[in-house]
């Protein structure tokens, strides 16, 4: 009895168990396959909602003569883009965007790198200094713009006043193109240098310390160590900082918009009219021009993609060269 009952039990079990194993294994297979996607899906759902949809919808509006209030539009094809390409102000805005970007991004990253290097050395009250460089970042950009535009006033500004002490004639900050753009780049740098310095600092701290020790034993000086160890080791962080600075730098709006409170933003001769300010002017201060503003927005998007790709190609090339040299 006992022996005969024995085979039946496994038989019954084997009858049920394959199904159970199959289900749980299927579950775990799903788990393995699907859950990573599930975990990252909030980002993509949000991105689709606030990134992709506006992008596509803006592209759609760029093909219409669109009334933003009544949400009605008539299809005009690529007329808006044609119009934009014919505008003198668009090309000036494009030029200004690129020059202000260069005037801000390049010094910003160089200075941020220097600050990060100093913060990485043995300082007393480390946290204090690190928080200190981040301070400008938490100031509202609008407040920064208002304060700096007072500092850079042509007649009553502090900067011209200080320059007069060292015998430099007053600079026309609101008239001449390059000084105006330098003033705006200064605001941008004031805000972003500390932020970038902290990100670079984080990258520097991840560099293995024994590399430095070996180098100093080999007799490498401070600068040699910085250029031969820190910079190459920092490359991934630098690429990140450069790309975010590019995206941000091409979209600056608050600073040029508030640089002068008189009239349409951008200066009497469009000295500091950037693409974002131009699209704002076209969209809000010209009747029914949302379609044209959307066209400008898309062109700006394409410009950022283009410059991002150039960035990527250049940095990749450099890193390949470096690899070949080190190997």
């Amino acid at each position: 009895m006992t022996t005969s009952s024995l085979p039946t039990a496994p038989a019954a079990a084997s009858e049920r168990s394959p199904r159970r194993i199959a289900f749980s294994s299927r579950l775990s297979r799903w788990d393995l396959k699907l859950s990573p996607y599930l975990y990252i899906s909030p980002f993509f759902i949000l991105f689709a909602l606030v990134g992709l949809f506006p992008l596509v919808y803006t592209g759609y509006i760029a093909l219409l003569k669109f009334d933003p209030i009544l949400h009605t539009g008539t299809f005009v094809g690529f007329d808006n883009f044609v119009w934009v390409f014919q505008q003198r102000q668009f090309w000036i805005a494009l030029r200004n965007t690129l020059t202000i970007f260069l005037l801000s991004a390049v010094p910003q990253i160089v200075v941020a790198l220097a600050i990060a290097a100093v913060l990485d050395s043995n300082l007393k009250a480390k946290t204090f200094w690190r928080m200190g460089v981040l301070l400008p970042y938490i100031v509202m950009p609008v407040a920064v713009a208002l304060i700096f535009s007072k500092l850079f006033s042509d007649d009553y500004g502090l900067v011209n006043h200080l320059l007069s002490f060292i015998g430099i004639a007053p600079i026309h900050w609101h008239t001449d193109t390059i000084p105006a753009q330098i003033a705006i780049a200064t605001m941008v740098n004031f805000r972003w240098t500390g932020y970038n310095a902290l990100i670079l600092l984080a990258g520097m701290q991840a560099i293995p310390r024994d590399l430095y020790e070996q180098a100093s034993i080999d007799g490498a000086g401070r600068f040699r160590r910085f250029f031969s160890i820190t910079i190459p080791q920092l490359r991934p962080t630098l690429i990140f900082v450069i790309i975010t600075a590019t995206i941000g730098g091409l979209q600056i709006f608050d600073e040029p918009q508030l640089y002068d409170t008189g009239g349409l933003a951008g200066g009497s001769n469009q000295q500091w009219l950037t693409l974002t300010v131009y699209l704002h002017n076209v969209g809000w201060f010209q009747d029914g021009s949302f379609g044209r503003a959307a066209a400008v927005a898309w062109l700006l998007f394409l410009l950022i993609v283009l410059i991002g790709l150039i960035n990527l190609a250049v940095t990749r090339r450099i890193s390949n060269n470096e690899n070949r040299r080190t190997s």
């Binding site: 933003p68 003198r88 008239t175 409170t261 009239g263």
Partner: protein, 426 residues
């Protein structure tokens, strides 16, 4: 400059973006059975002169209604806010203030605003003010203030130049046309006081632009700015005078404010709301005064409206409140607070208005003075037409004037660029 007139008054107010009037006590149980508790939001910009006390007095008379005022810093901010939220379909206040210069853009959408016409407010305003608030057959905006222009001047600089400095004599001196204004300016400049005659070509051009019926646009909205000989001759005549008589300080800039305090110019065109701007920018100057005169008679610069968007839930209550807020007594109260000159005809007869003086402007009798200026404007019989592109065209012209004053371009080159900028607006 048009788009951002009055920008400066609000600088201090900017920090206090929202002024909330809290119903004190919140007495339990409404006084009458059908009355619901209603909170009305009122959005204004800069300084409309609607003090907490004024708004509280409405709550006192109507205990079930509480008013909360939101103050935007500039006219531009208010404009962006209004159009963004009109586009979104919600988020607007129950009552929205609209600047007369961008009212034409709002008038394109009468279906989005409540009709405010009633037997009560019929014939309360001069015809042009009513027309400005009317879209099609609908009265969508009730006028708050108007901007009859006078000339503000610095008595000390006049004295230094050997010109008469008391208001009666200055008024006589400045009565005449624009060439008279520039002629006195030339006398002033000849005395070499170190100050200029007026602040900027742009500000002076505003005065001229507001004296033509169809300066930039025809009644049907067609742009004529580039072909209208009046525009070109105003552009040239202002720049000719500016070469020797202007301080070259573009309006609303920090340097303009500094120049006002530092005595860089002796006169400026002065609608009543400009008094608050001047006082705010040059609080320590004791020599400001106002002349009861304006080149070519009269002119009007600025003036706003209150509108009730249909997206609000309390249209009836809002309508009654706007009616009250734009009534003569409340307009006079706002005039005393912020210098916004009443738009209602009945207010001009009130002794509270005619007796008003301004201590900062050497006790100028601003009540009677601006009543005279309003009459002078009415006498010209010219009501400037401002279409939907007015602000954008004015912006292009102002930039052109500034380019010449900054020495970047000759008047002829600048005009060529103005023409191309205006053509780009079509």
């Amino acid at each position: 400059m048009n788009l951002s007139r009055r920008t400066r008054v609000g600088a201090v107010l900017a920090t206090a973006a929202t002024i909330a009037l809290i119903a004190t006590g919140c007495s339990a149980g409404g006084s009458s059975s059908g009355d619901q508790k209603v909170t009305l939001t009122l959005a204004t910009f800069n300084n409309f002169g609607y003090t907490d006390a004024l708004l509280a007095s409405y709550h006192k008379a109507h205990p079930n209604i509480t008013i909360v005022q939101k103050v935007a810093k500039t006219s531009d901010d208010a404009q962006t806010n209004l159009f963004t939220k009109l586009a979104a379909g919600n988020g607007l206040s129950d009552i929205e203030a609209v600047d007369g210069d961008w009212m034409p853009k709002v008038r394109q959408y009468p279906q989005l605003f409540t009709d405010l016409a009633s037997a009560d407010n019929k014939g309360r305003y001069a015809a042009y003010k009513t027309a400005g608030g009317t879209a099609g057959t609908k009265l969508i905006g009730l006028g708050t203030d108007v901007g009859p222009e006078a000339i503000c001047y610095r008595a000390d600089l006049f004295k230094a130049a050997g010109l008469p400095s008391d208001p009666a004599a200055v008024s006589k001196l400045l009565t005449g046309d624009w060439s008279n204004y520039y002629k006195v300016g030339a006398q002033f400049e000849a005395a070499k006081t170190g100050a200029a005659w007026f602040d900027s070509a742009g500000a002076t051009f505003q005065g001229l632009a507001n004296q033509y019926k169809n300066f930039f646009e025809k009644d049907d909205g067609t742009t004529v700015a580039t072909t209208n000989p009046d525009v070109k001759s105003a552009f040239d005549s202002v720049l000719a005078a500016s070469a020797t008589q202007s301080a070259h300080l573009q309006e609303w800039t920090d340097d303009w404010a500094g120049g006002m305090a530092g005595g860089k110019f002796a006169t400026m065109l002065c609608p009543p709301w400009m008094m608050g701007v001047i006082q705010g920018d040059s609080p320590k100057v004791t020599d400001w005064n106002i002349a009861n005169a304006f080149p070519n008679g009269g002119g009007n610069w600025g003036g706003s409206y209150l509108l009730v968007p249909t997206q609000g839930k309390h249209a009836a209550e809002a309508k009654a409140f706007v009616d009250w807020l734009t009534a003569p007594d409340q307009q006079i109260s706002a005039f005393k607070t912020a210098g916004n000159f009443p738009s209602q005809l009945a207010a001009y007869k009130s002794s509270a208005l005619t007796g008003a003086t301004n201590a900062f402007f050497s006790n100028a009798p601003i009540g009677t003075l601006f009543t005279d200026r309003a009459k002078a404007f009415a006498d010209t019989g010219v009501i400037p037409f401002k279409g939907i592109k007015y602000g954008a065209i004015m912006g292009a012209v102002q930039n052109g004037l500034t380019r010449v004053e900054q020495g970047q371009q000759s008047a002829a080159d600048s005009w060529t660029q103005v023409v191309s900028d205006i053509k780009a607006l079509s």
